[in-house]
């Protein structure tokens, strides 16, 4: 029989190996699933994982898709480090897109280099305010942030739908629920000609570097990490717990808001009802898969973007449902959580009698 034996300390190697193992297990499950569905599994895997990025256009699209996921996930890495469960990146992204669109439509006739920065800042501000509400409720009223941020995702979606069906609807748009196309002065410039890679990718990469510096080189980042590991130690050290909670939540909200406004001013170019196919939720998986580390998150967001493109490709060429993406995302997170057991435990095969060694709980730093 199999027995789990505590390692006594967290295995660093396993912490990095576990996401890889999870990805492999997800792929294997995919193979079984495709076989059951009567699809050639090899062809399916190639279609999902290779075909979308087999040419330069595909690689460029991968970067376009990864941009909002990366922005959301890098922000989430900060709050998750603080052990604050912001599940609201999706709502913060939507509000960011909405705020940015509002500003872009207000300034639609203005031609100035200041228009785009104003729009972007306004979008980020939208996400910041949206997360700030959850922070306020958590800090002042002790309200569980998981539930408030989830509820605010639904509220954000409905506000966006209201706006796009109502006040922000294009008056000359034949009654379609879409805003007018933004003017050139509020559109993100392309980063690389002849692709759709826009300036948002540069912002995202900048954010990754900034967060890396914040978390590993600054005292503020150190305080956030301590607060997440041991709240009472942080309190005893005189860290301003409330201020840190505000900071972490609002920072992640602002980055998610930036993701939203980059979508509407980047690849989309107007406000539409569905500006995100769940990027904010995918970012949660990315943050965990990337071990809350900037480099890991960068890689994981590319993988997640590939899953989105692969799902579309599988729908087009294999006739599989688009929901394949969501299914794989869910499996990936499940396998990751299951594989993470290997960080604090090692697997032992026990052939004959049961061991007499008592199983002691390891010091569980992850709470």
């Amino acid at each position: 029989m199999i027995k789990l034996e505590p390692r006594g300390e967290r295995s660093k190697r396993m912490a990095y190996l576990s996401p890889v193992l999870a990805a492999v297990l997800t792929m294997l499950t995919g193979v079984i699933l495709f076989t059951l569905l009567g699809v050639d599994p090899w062809e399916a895997l190639v279609t999902i994982l290779y075909v979308p990025i087999s040419d330069t256009y595909g690689i460029a699209e991968l970067c376009v898709k990864a941009t909002p996921i990366l922005l959301c996930a890098i922000g989430l890495s900060v709050v998750f480090k603080a052990q604050i469960w912001n599940i609201g990146a999706e709502g913060q992204l939507l509000i960011g897109g909405l705020f940015g669109s509002y500003m872009a439509l207000q300034l639609i006739d203005v031609e100035s280099a200041w228009v785009l920065p104003t729009v972007l800042v306004f979008g980020a501000l939208g996400g910041l305010v949206w997360a700030g509400i959850a922070a306020l409720l958590k800090v002042q009223f002790n309200t569980n942030e998981i539930l408030t941020t989830i509820m605010m995702n639904y509220i954000a979606l409905n506000i966006l739908l209201w706006a796009v069906h109502g006040p922000l609807k294009d008056p000359d748009g034949y009654n379609f629920p879409e805003s007018a196309m933004f003017s050139d002065s509020s559109l993100l410039p392309l980063l690389i000609e002849d692709t759709r890679i826009h300036f948002g990718l540069a912002l995202a990469l900048l954010a990754v570097v900034a967060i890396w510096v914040l978390m590993s080189r600054s005292f503020y980042g150190f305080q956030i990490k301590v607060m997440g590991l041991d709240a009472s130690a942080a309190r005893l050290s005189g860290f301003k717990e409330k201020r840190l909670a505000y900071f972490a939540l609002m920072l992640s909200g602002a980055l998610a808001g930036l993701a939203g406004v980059s979508e509407v001013t980047g690849p989309i170019g107007q406000l539409i009802p569905n500006i995100s196919p769940g990027y904010g939720y995918a970012a949660i998986i990315v943050a965990f898969l990337g071990r809350l580390h900037p480099v890991g998150i960068l890689l994981a967001s590319l993988l997640m973007a590939l899953l989105y493109m692969g799902g579309e490709m599988a729908q087009i060429s294999l006739g599989l449902p688009l929901a394949l993406t969501g299914l794989f995302q869910g499996m990936l997170l499940f396998y990751l959580l299951a594989c993470d057991v290997l960080i604090s435990f090692r697997v032992r095969w026990i052939s004959r009698q049961p061991t007499t060694a008592p199983i002691q709980p390891t010091t569980n730093t992850q709470g």
Partner: protein
């Protein structure tokens, strides 16, 4: 407002509150054992899709409901194994269950979106249905609504008066003491989690087979999450779960009330109400810290390691 309108509003309130009530009763039992399962939404969606597909293919609503319950139970077993055998974080695992359930249900149901099905018919209880105001609300509903009354009574009695209910509470308050006096902590938690899964599956299939007899992606629209808030709102008491579920049902059908009164408000803005109400209620209830600590099961969300 005339009597007919009030009667109809009360009827719709109970009907709309029923899926919330069922899933929240399941989560209540689960949380009483000290386990926080955030996967309600995912389990509901699986129940909804499995119930719908089975009922459509077999032509039997009963089979649909039954297999939806099984689907919810299977989902909850995944959660139970990962959190208890592999000691993963309950919050993260519950979240994963919701993301997985959302994806899997959309995948399974992709070919069934928009297909029509004959939903569950109401059963009018003679004479009682004709009572003024409350007749339709309590005695003119469908079978699952009546079942939800029974489930409520059962859960209420179980927690308050039964011996296994006492064990459940002991495990949720202090699993180490419970373990020390020989109570089966893990078994109790397994059963509580699986009961939660069964209820979520049933609640989901109520949506797809009775409430709006059709399947649509994400059709539970956050009800699983609202149910989690409901349990907090109810201070972990069954009778308040019932009250809360119906109140939230009322918040969800306010557009009917507004129509009845002759107002016109954007449907998207009215759709915000139940979510907004959830936030407001959570804020009011959790602002008193010492009180919320007293009413929640002591070990809620904390892992338990059996020492052999």
């Amino acid at each position: 407002m005339d009597i007919d309108l009030i009667s109809n509003i009360l009827y719709a309130m109970v009907r709309t509150g029923t899926p919330l009530l069922i899933v929240a009763l399941g989560e209540l039992i689960c949380e009483k054992s000290g386990v926080l399962n955030l996967g309600q939404e995912g389990m509901m969606l699986m129940g909804a899709v499995v119930g719908f597909v089975v009922a459509l293919l077999s032509g039997s609503l009963l089979l649909g409901f039954m297999l939806a319950i099984v689907a919810g139970m299977l989902m909850s077993i995944i959660f139970a194994v990962i959190t208890m055998e592999l000691s993963a974080n309950q919050v993260a695992t519950g979240l994963a269950l919701t993301i997985f359930g959302t994806g899997l249900s959309a995948f399974v149901g992709a070919d069934f979106v928009g297909k029509p099905i004959d939903g569950l018919d109401p059963i009018f209880i003679p004479v009682l249905t004709d009572l003024p105001i409350i007749g339709r609300m309590l005695f003119g509903q469908d079978l699952i609504v009546y079942l939800s009354f029974v489930l409520f009574g059962g859960v209420y009695w179980f927690i308050k008066y039964s011996r296994p209910g006492l064990i459940l509470k002991a495990v949720g308050e202090n699993p180490h003491s419970a373990n020390a006096i020989g109570l089966p902590v893990l078994k109790t938690r397994y059963l509580a989690i699986i009961f939660g899964g069964a209820m979520a599956g049933l609640a989901g299939s109520y949506l797809s087979l009775a409430y709006t007899p059709l399947w649509a992606e994400n059709m539970s629209a956050g009800r699983g999450w609202i149910a989690l808030a409901l349990v907090v709102f109810a201070s972990w008491k069954a009778e308040r779960v019932l009250l809360g579920a119906w109140l939230f049902g009322l918040a969800s059908i306010l557009h009917l009330v507004f129509q009845g009164l002759g107002f016109s408000v954007s449907p998207n803005l009215l759709a915000i109400l139940p979510y907004l109400a959830t936030v407001v209620v959570l804020v009011i209830l959790s602002s008193n810290q010492s009180r919320s600590r007293l009413v929640a099961p002591m070990s809620l969300g904390k892992p338990f390691y059996a020492k052999s």
